[in-house]
Amino acid sequence: MALILDLAVQGMQMVLVLLLAPLLTGFTRKVKARLLRRRGPSVIQPYRDILRLLRKEVVLAENASWLFRTLPYMVFAATWVAAALVPTFAKGLMFSWSADLIAIIALLGSARFFLALAGMDIGTSFGGIGSSREMMIASLAEPAMIMIVFTLALVAGSTQLSTVADFMSSSAVGLRVSLGLALVALIIVGIAENARVPVDNPATHLELTMVHEAMILEYSGRHLAVIEVAGSLKLLLYVSLIAAVFMPWGLAPTGAAPMAYAAGALAYVGKVAVAGFLLALFETAIAKMRVFRVPEFLGAALMLGLLGTLLLFVTRSF
């Protein structure tokens, strides 16, 4: 019985993230449009796009290989699994122990790996640009992320997200410099990883400025749809990661009553909305930077992460 319930909760979470992801994208677009004094597309526009794409036929370049056709699903799967393992409305989910924070990052890493390969398969110049820049960005973003994990893990004494969340919601945390640094770094990394302004512009198709879009330039139809979903899943994942770690209030504990779950879900949606709004605000506030400014941007994140780890010893010596 308990097993089934757990399974159900786990399943709910997976479905929830899947459903919520495009909504977040739409919501941010909407807010951005509003901030720019435009009406903008409706919030559920992304769903429409995806459904339309799904129904369209795929136009495949002649020299596309079998890899090109399988990769979208692999990307999607990796991102989805990763997203499913991050506590959203409840912690201590059934399979949450099957991968800790490092593993989740690594999963996202494999998703990126696949995407970059997809970019190179057709053998066009844009694909190459996209992949190489993506990997360059990642090569800085990933270590930064790992350093953030170090900070959290050293504070909470665990890399298990549920445990971390537990700890962060407990009173033992107190206010810490390093956590602040970690938060800032995490936000920077999130922005970079999700190809948002100022690192990349999800809206542009101006060839030389795009990174993420350039990789998926050759995709169409259902493949494109799947990739889009994966993209928004990733965004949601980062949001819920920040939420779970830095705003852990309202997370339903293991095996709680359904009402608690509902409350958790509500709280979660609230957090996501806030995050989306802030993101939009940030994106409208600043402009995209040149590609070779990005390393400094991310280097800052890396430094912050490292600093956070080292400052731990200052604030509290183990």
Partner: protein, 667 residues
């Protein structure tokens, strides 16, 4: 056990005979013989390691040093490394059965191949200093001969030369280390060495010498220069052995001396190891990113992985020095696990490179591309290898790096501030190298196998023979298994860490769902199997749903490319252009990278030229001066060859007078 080695040596002798009489039948016979004997050895050692561990069997032969004889011992550590060695060797032999047919100079490969294998086995089995060093140098010699197989190419000769000099440098420093360990009256047996207590200064010297010796063979920066030259020069299955296995034998040497013979390291010694490991990891992968020769790229990645392994070993040293045996066991397990993993996927990748080489005759990625269409199986296995070496779940490379991260996260409990501060920094280096590795293999796989063929050879490539494919698929499967079922390997390593550190990680096989729990479940856990299943299920689910309910229509058309598709394959991204952003970021300070662009003036239709020159700082700073000094001194001294008789006489005269003076002023 030794019978297999004997069989190998016999094979090599037979091979010499064979290549002289019937070159035609050579490869098949030799490689099959190697395959059989190494496979048997592999089976034996696996059996030894898995069944309940009795006293280590020893063997004494009246060879080698007369009053000492040659001692061999098969304890847990050597058993594990024997598994690594013979696994790689068996696969390489299998691969060789097919690959050897295309070998132009097989009479220069066949005799030495089995000898090389035998040498590696003997190093791991040796139980006294003399036998150890003898086999060690024998191994180097065998591999040197294999590197020189294609000796008509100038670069190969140079590579072989540098390799051999570095190898003997390493051997001599190990020799000095053993000199201290054995003491003036020459107690060379490992048993006797273990029994003696060494004072701390001696321990420090020994550790440094061992780092020099084992490091120069394993390819620690700055002793790595020979590796990227020598490994690609050899035939591919030999490159696989050298990169995948021989470097591990070097690691064995380090572990054997530092953890086993030299029981009590000091905590600061671990700092040296950690620093070297971190630097090696990052520099190795950066060098690799700059290459466009496929095999050289792989060789540089060996340098990187050696760095990762040494990070693990350094952690183990640090924890052991502070008596945190459990943590030390974790770190050591992680390091050894990575040894195993790297031997598997690096061999796999070199096999792939060899396949590409046979199919196209090209090692330069700038002339490859689009091979995924012509050689699907090879490219699939190569993809698996690339994912594994890039530490992507659910494959094996991730597990060992994950374990190392777990060990790093235990560092705050160390008392020394130096280590507290240093280890997280090393962790950052590790993460950096992992991310860069991913970038590098996107490049390697993408440029070589994806895109459109950049040369005629690549356009007409054909899939390789079934033996090679068998070897590659076996190892690809192994990458997956080790990734999804790491618990069994960790348990298998328990006796090793038990023997060296006196502690072992918690038993993993009993954990539900076959996940691995280094310390406690609340702290961290990882389940490769579930992740793998989730990935497969969700991917296939998505595919199924979409194909079932949405459209499955598909139309082939020209590439979109923002509306300007260009038929010329030259418009693709090249290896050089792929690594350009990263070169901009790191290159300028690490390689003093300079980019020269010559734009023809407007109206001139000549092509624009873009060239990059990279300098190997290590070479410039360390090796060039040394060789320069030797050259200078020999030039100066050379005048003594051309003196007149009278001047020679005056030399004698001076010597005499000096000695007499010495006597005169003698107290």
């Amino acid at each position: 056990m030794l019978w297999c080695v004997a069989a190998l040596l016999a094979t090599s002798v037979a091979a010499i005979a064979l290549v002289t009489v019937r070159p035609a039948a050579g490869p098949r016979f030799v490689y099959s013989a190697c395959l059989v004997s190494t496979a048997v050895a592999f089976a034996i050692t696996v059996a030894r390691l898995t069944d309940d561990w009795g006293p280590a069997p020893t063997l004494h032969l009246p060879l080698g040093l007369p009053w000492l004889g040659a001692d061999f011992r098969l304890d847990a550590l050597s058993a594990f490394f024997l598994i690594v060695v013979n696994l790689g060797a068996a696969a390489a032999s299998l691969y060789g059965i097919g690959y050897g047919r295309h070998e132009p100079a097989s009479e220069r490969v066949l005799p030495f191949f089995p000898a090389f294998l035998a040498g590696m086995n003997l190093v791991v089995l040796a139980d006294d200093a003399f036998t150890f060093l003898l086999s060690w140098e024998f191994m180097s010699l065998g591999s040197w001969a294999l590197v020189m197989a294609h000796h008509r190419i100038e670069d190969n000769r140079r590579a072989g030369y540098i390799y051999l000099v570095m190898a003997s440098f390493g051997t001599l420093s190990l020799l000095l280390a053993y000199g201290i360990l054995a003491g003036p009256d020459g107690r060379y047996g490992f048993e006797a060495i273990r029994a003696t207590l060494h004072e701390s200064s001696a321990v420090a010297v020994i550790l440094v010498l061992t780092l020099l010796g084992a490091g120069s063979k394993a390819g620690l920066v700055p002793l790595h220069v020979w590796l990227p030259l020598a490994h690609p020069a050899a035939p591919s299955h030999v490159s696989a052995l050298m990169s995948g296995v021989m470097t591990k034998v070097a690691v064995y040497g380090f572990v054997r001396i530092v953890f086993d013979l030299l029981a009590h390291p000091t905590w600061w010694s671990s700092m040296i190891v950690l620093a070297l490991g971190g630097i090696t990891a990052v520099l190795g992968v950066l060098y690799a990113l700059m290459q466009h020769d496929l095999k050289r790229l792989l060789a540089y990645h060996t340098v990187e992985n050696i760095g990762i392994i040494f990070i693990g070993l350094g952690l183990a040293l640090a924890f052991q020095a502070n008596g945190m045996v459990l943590a030390a066991a974790l770190a050591l397990t992680a390091a050894l696990f990575h040894v195993f993993n790297h031997s598997v996927f690096k061999s796999l990748l070199f096999f792939g490179a060899g396949a590409v080489l046979t199919a196209t005759g090209e090692r330069d990625m700038e002339h490859l591309g689009g091979l995924i269409h012509r050689m699907p199986h090879t490219s699939f296995t190569f993809l698996v290898g690339s994912m594994a070496i890039s530490a992507l779940p659910p494959l094996n490379g991730f597990v060992s790096e994950w374990l190392i991260f777990q060990a790093i996260l235990l560092s705050p409990e160390l008392p020394q501030w130096g280590l507290k501060i240093m280890i997280p920094a090393v962790g950052a280096l590790l993460a950096l190298s992992a991310a860069l590795a991913a970038a590098c293999f996107v490049k390697a796989f993408g440029i070589t196998f994806l895109g459109r063929p950049r040369s005629e050879a690549a356009r007409n490539a054909a899939e390789v023979d079934r033996f090679s494919l068998a070897a590659m698929f076996a190892f690809a499967l192994l990458c997956l298994l080790a990734g999804v079922l790491p618990g069994y390997i960790i348990d298998g390593l328990a006796p090793v860490t038990d023997g060296l550190i006196g502690a072992e990680m918690p038993v993993q096989a009993s954990v539900p769902w076959l996940s691995i729990v280094p310390i406690a479940e609340a702290r961290s856990s990882y389940n490769g199997l579930l992740v793998f299943l989730f990935l497969i299920i969700s991917a296939s689910l998505a595919a199924f749903v979409i194909h079932r309910f949405a459209s499955r229509a598909l139309r082939r058309g020209p590439a979109w490319d923002c509306g300007f598709p260009d038929p010329s394959t030259a418009t693709q991204y090249t290896a050089g252009s792929f690594s350009q952003p990263i070169r901009r970021v790191f290159g300028t300070l690490v390689f003093r990278a300079r980019e020269h662009v010559e734009m023809p003036p407007p109206g001139n239709l000549g092509p624009a030229r873009f060239s990059v020159d990279l300098r190997d700082l290590v070479w410039d700073v360390l090796y060039a001066p040394v060789s320069g000094t030797v050259g200078f001194v020999s030039e100066r001294l050379n005048r003594f060859q051309f003196l007149t008789i009278r001047q020679y006489l005056s030399l004698v005269f001076l010597a005499l007078v000096l000695l007499l003076l010495a006597l005169a002023i003698w107290p």
